[in-house]
Amino acid sequence: MKVKVISRSTDDFTRERSQDLQRVFRNYDPILRPQEKALEYQRALNAAKLDKIFARPFIGAMEGHVDAVSCMAKNPSQLKEIFSGSMDGDIRLWDIAARHTVCRFPGHQGAVRGLTVSTDGCILVSCGIDSTVRLWKTPVASFVESNAPIKTVEPASVYVWKNAFCSADHQWDGEHFATGGAQVDIWNHNRSQPVNSFVWGSDTVLSVRFSPAEPNLLASSASDRSINLYDLRKATPLRKLIMQTKTNSIAWNPMEPLNFTVANEDGCCYSYDLRNLDIAKYVHKDHVSAVMDIDYSPTGREFVTGSYDRTVRIFPNTAGHSREIYHTKRMQRVFCVKFSGDGSYVISGSDDTNLRLWKAKASEQLGVILPREKKKHEYHEAIKKRYGHLPEVNRISRHRHLPRPVYKAAALMRDMATAKKRKDDRRKAHSAPGSVTTKPLRLKRIVKEVE
């Protein structure tokens, strides 16, 4: 006879000293965990609810300007610095971490409309409706106490030009910068006049943006509803795309060099592939009023938009609808938005003279995260993804409280869209087959493409 029974000595299964960690034994047998699917679903539901509880995206407002914030610029070499320009000609440098002004750049007579920093972070370029372009040396970053007096900086050079400016952008990896006004002007750091100008049509250029991947490639939008593409090495513009409404801002995807997204006056954003401008890759709908500004996250997987409807939204770059909406009672029309350099914060500047700092993920835990906490967060993310398609989990994680005007406007727009569709369907049903065709939304808003 051979016999063996389970026999556990306490010493093998408990810790020796009270300073030791408790010993953990695992057995992954499914029989020990009955109803694991129900349990996992319940956990996913709880995780979705916890996400709602911890969703506190607003970190703080940065106040100091006395007029609406019109433009912002990130310093590519400094994570915690951001420049902002205001409608009264004031330019400020902010310390995001401490949320106060570090220094001011006085000089502009009217509104500052364009603000950009060179890639090495040394030179700040500003332009405005006073027809001047000003170059400033950015102060060296140092540890500043919160109660230190605000420094003022004198411009390194001032160039007066013929027309007012609406936007500016600095070339990546080069010393040119572009301004948009009556035409697109290309400037050099050392010259008091533009080195090159591009004119196509006679309307005001609203925004210019250099491609981060190809230094000589430039996109601009104008008030004649057009989006233009230029190559600095060529004498004439490359291409022009005309849409039904004007484009307020353009952002290049930093990770997919051929793709860019435009913020349109009709409340939608359109993602285009450079090679194929006759159809949009994606249409990002959700805003109920004009989208004023757009900026990509450094990961290239999502972008943030600020709108005239007083909200900030974050869209995944391949989704038709936003994953997040930010609003507060006091935030007015949003004129400019930026993702922070590490992609974890969003900064918005609005009509109410404040800059606001938001978390990019509303329920993210800030500060140092312990390995166990990190694991827990990862587990929650995984089960939410696994059960995200179930109605209850989906409903909870998708629900956002909206301000009443936005909610009403969205409902109205939806009604209008369904009415339009109904009418189109009926028209189609009662016409000769093939005589009436419906255009997809990706195509509908494009008027034409000009080479």
């Binding site: 016999v3 299964f13 057995n27 349990l39 956990r43």
Partner: protein, 536 residues
């Protein structure tokens, strides 16, 4: 003896080849895969398919990792009892086993004789660390099984019919003469559960925090012990019974009735999910395999039946009475009758239970309750003269999971676990026959209306139009000559959708027919052979 035996065997033993190791891992990882992977062959969406392929791969890897952990990291091995030569395992006595095992294990064989207060019933916590015992004459006690010390005992001076631990050892419920009560570990009465009435059996559903009971009036009652709500209260309508068991796999409560039926209940429906005739006579005991697929029932018709719950079919019928049945974690089935215990085992895994061990108590003892101690090779016996404990090698799961049930739990861990389990408390709706259905798509097949049904519908629609009264109009517009075409028009429009549907279906049917013919029109004389396969 052992060593020489090893030396003899050594030359014949070859190291396992690569293939052997892979095969063994595959066999081990089967249970961690939880069924077959999804069939992605017919999936047309490329993106979705690549995502699902990646996920399936991940499942495979995690199952493999679990299998490897099982092979190498597990601290203990399963117990066993093997006969040599002409020996039979069911002839081996407890005394013989006691001589062979270590002192720590032999301490698990004992008899506690308390003749005045019996018969006794007992219950273990899920970790097997604590045991609650209840004597019919009002004796309640909690015992720490690790060092066999009595934590608390109390005398309630009332009939006690059953005891059950709640989610941990701090609380237990006792079914007494008139009401059920919840006591703390210290013996303090915390709650009197008046809703339950005079309860015969108590069971605790630990994932849902539900206390299920069946009382004298054949009533099944579920109470949520975390909130105190009565979740469900149903008349079984099949008479008084004290045969109740929870299926651990899906938390469905089963009752055995005096007419020989077994009914299965969930708290959200007033009628049983399943009602099956198991015996020609009263059902005397009921037990479930931990994997939830096997049910054992014993009837007064002198039969013990084993049922496959996936097919609701008895796969084995054994002769004999049983007052109590119990499955161990590793699937051994213990049957108690009078003073005799028989333990059955499925040796080959082919659903064929045969006798594994037997044990006879002192003559005259009446066994009331058998309970395997989780994570140990121990069978607890509650009988008319007290309670006893014997060793059944191979009964318990050798390796516990600290996060599931830990016999060496510290008070701090217990507190943490309590919070966790309350957070993971499942809603009552999750109790269903197949719990793996959660999170899957429910297919609702749209039934095609039959020709008769469509005709009837059309008739009804026509009748409805005919019955409609037309408005009385002036200037000769209500003349019979005007009304008649109007009515016919209305009838035609009512008929139209049905007729259109009919025509469409006919078209579809005809096109299908053509497809089956392969598009080739055969000469009329050959058409009657068309459905047959061409011989080649």
């Amino acid at each position: 003896m052992e060593i020489t035996h090893d030396k003899e065997a050594l030359p014949n033993r070859k190291p396992p080849t690569e293939q052997d190791i892979i095969d063994e891992l595959k066999l081990r990882s089967k249970k961690y895969l939880r069924g077959k992977g999804a069939n992605l062959k017919g999936l047309k969406d490329k993106k979705l398919r690549s995502q699902l392929v990646a996920r399936e791969k991940l499942y495979g890897e995690s199952a493999k990792a679990a299998a490897q952990a099982e092979k190498w990291i597990m601290p203990s091995d399963q117990g066993f009892l093997e006969a040599e030569g002409l020996e039979k395992t069911y002839r081996i006595k407890q005394e013989t086993i006691a001589r062979e095992v270590d002192i720590l294990s032999s301490r698990n064989q004992y008899d506690i004789t308390l003749p005045e207060l019996g018969p006794y019933t007992l219950d273990f916590t899920p970790s097997g660390r604590y045991m609650a015992v209840g004597g019919r004459k009002g004796h309640l006690a909690i015992v720490d099984m690790m060092n066999l010390s009595l934590i608390r005992e109390l005398q309630v001076r009332e009939t006690v019919r059953d005891v059950a631990f709640l989610h941990n050892e701090l609380f237990f419920a006792a079914a007494q003469k008139k009401y059920s009560y919840i006591y703390s570990r210290e013996g303090t009465e915390l709650h009197c559960l008046k809703d339950h009435g005079s309860v015969l059996r108590l069971q605790f559903l630990k994932n849902h925090f539900l206390l299920a009971s069946t009382n004298k009036f054949g009533m099944l009652l579920y109470q949520d012990v975390s909130t105190g709500d009565v979740v469900g209260k149903y008349r079984t309508g099949l008479g008084r019974t004290n045969v109740m068991q929870v299926n651990p796999y899906n938390s469905v409560v089963s009752l055995g009735h005096s007419a020989g039926t077994v009914t299965m209940w969930k708290p959200t429906s007033s009628s049983p999910l399943v009602k099956m005739l198991c015996h020609h006579g009263p059902v005397s005991a009921l037990a479930f395999h931990p994997n939830g697929h096997i049910m054992a029932t014993a009837g007064k018709d002198k039969k013990i039946k084993l049922w496959d719950l996936r097919k609701y079919e008895a796969f084995q019928t054994l002769p004999g009475h049983a007052n109590t049945l119990e499955f161990s974690q590793k699937g051994l089935l213990a049957c108690g009758n009078g003073s005799y215990i028989q333990v059955l085992r499925d040796v080959s895994g082919a659903q064929n239970y045969s006798s594994y061990m037997t044990h006879s108590m002192v003559k005259g003892y009446q066994i009331g309750k058998l309970a395997f101690r989780p994570y140990e090779d121990v069978l607890g016996i509650g009988h008319s003269m007290g309670w006893s404990s014997i060793l059944i090698p191979g009964a318990g799961e050798p390796n516990f999971d600290s996060w599931v049930a830990n016999p060496f739990e510290t008070p701090k861990q217990r507190k943490e676990k309590e919070v966790q389990s309350l957070r993971d408390k499942l809603p009552v709706e999750t109790i269903m026959l197949d719990p793996s259905k959660i999170g899957t798509v429910k297919f609702t097949k749209k039934e095609k209306p039959t020709v008769e049904k469509m005709d009837a519908d059309m008739e009804a629609a026509v009748e409805a139009v005919k019955g409609k009264k037309l408005k009385k109009k002036t200037k000769g517009r209500s003349k019979a000559g005007k009304i008649m075409p109007k009515k016919q028009d209305a009838i035609a429009t009512a008929k139209r959708p049905y007729l259109e549907q009919k025509i469409q279906e006919e078209k579809k049917a005809s096109s299908k027919k053509q497809k089956t013919n392969g598009g080739v029109e055969l000469p009329k004389s050959l058409q009657r052979f068309a459905h047959k396969k061409p011989s080649s």
